[in-house]
Symmetry: C2
Subunit: 219 residues, 2 copies
DNA sequence: CGGCGGCTCCCCCGTCCGGCGGAGGCGGAT
DNA sequence: ATCCGCCTCCGCCGGACGGGGGAGCCGCCG
């Protein structure tokens, strides 16, 4: 006796993509595409009705995006399906959001058919295991989450950077002077330079700029 | 003609674990365990010599941990193997480090044999795709990475919270007063209260405290 | 009804800060 | 040899800030 088929719902706003996915998955024994959706909202209702085992969810969709749809599905259903988020990737930082939304997997559209099938089977079967280079890209991306370190960062001289770090510790000029073993006047100069280069008007704004720029994480 | 077997190296400091993994993997057609290592350093040299397709790498190992070993392997070899990091999980934030090190996959020790095999095959074959609830746990963990919002957060009154947010925008008291449509004196009072409750001495330190506490993300 | 906490505002005072306009030294690039 | 960037300091000034000590008003709760 064959085990019950893995029931899959496809959510993607492009018909061609759905067709392609359906073709690939339907050709597989043990896999059954039971429904499709073209928007996030539709995905939610379709899933609610059909109760599939797996949802292949595109990130970019009209009305409600894939991430929100995933959230809603996982939040409102008792035994939610495993949601696999699908993306073209490229400039996507969606990966992280997908994770947070509770996605069970992540799939690149350029993955070959074989990998796709394998992935679906895997996700359907287990709640444990592995992830991919896609996520590595995420990690990098996340590290890059200050991808455009504002120009001023590179313009700060060594001393100015030191001063800014100390500012971000909440030190007064006098304290910074002691720590850096220079006169208070010098610190004032450096602070002034930092303010000018960061385009801020006082130490508080400079500290904010430092935080926002991820300046404090850069080692 | 059968395709060449996927060549696997096991790196784990516990012999029993290696034995178990070997037993599982060797039983699979198309998989071949070609080597073992008990330390990170050993793993690096074994991999260098045997050039496997896949390395199952324990995180916790003597001398050099799995993360570093992974880094070294990926950095020093031309065609490095896919490294799958293995962990017992539990309190691990290793996941993230593993990612950064360039691991191609992540595997829980409690994964069943079937999933393990599947995972190895998958990683061997593709460079694309998916990851697991293990990573979801990571995401949660990462989100929880400010698990103890300092006590003062809850003590701030509504107005004080508003003021703190405005401070974190780099506004002066006068500007805050205008935005909140109150007198400057009132803002001074609130600021004083914020400083007292946050245990800081000036607005800059208060802003730092707000950032460190994740106060600004809390909606 | 009497606290009590939160919000609003007041004055005074000393300090810190940031803007302005310098200046000297030093090392590397031109 | 000269210039330029960086680091080091100086004085002066006005305004912003933070501390201290109030005060009146409201709404809630016992």
């Amino acid at each position: 006796m064959t085990p019950p088929a893995i029931r899959v719902v496809l959510a993607d706003d492009e018909r061609m993509v759905r067709t392609a996915l359906r073709a690939i998955l339907s050709a597989e024994p043990g896999l059954e595409v039971v429904g499709e959706a073209a928007t996030g909202a539709e995905a939610v209702s379709v899933v609610r009705e059909l109760r599939p085992d797996i949802v292949l969810m595109d990130v970019r969709m009209p009305e409600v995006d894939g991430i929100r749809a995933t959230e809603q599905i996982l939040a409102t259903l008792d035994e939610p399906p495993r949601v696999v988020v699908v993306t073209t990737f490229e400039n996507d930082s969606y990966v992280y959001d997908a994770l947070r939304a509770g996605a069970a997997g992540f799939l690149l559209k350029r993955a070959d058919a074989d990998a796709l099938v394998q992935a679906v089977r895997l996700v359907a079967r287990t709640d444990s295991l592995l992830f991919p280079s896609a996520v590595r890209a995420l990690a990098a991306e996340h590290a890059r989450r200050a991808p455009a370190p504002p120009a001023w960062v590179s313009r700060l001289t060594g001393r100015e950077s030191e001063v800014l770090r100390h500012l971000a510790e909440g030190l007064t000029n006098a304290e910074i002077a002691r720590r850096m073993d220079v006169g208070p006047a010098t610190v004032k100069s450096h602070v002034a330079a930092v303010l000018a280069k960061t385009g801020t008007r006082d130490r508080t704004q400079a500290v904010i700029a430092a935080y926002e720029a991820g300046f404090l994480n850069a080692r």
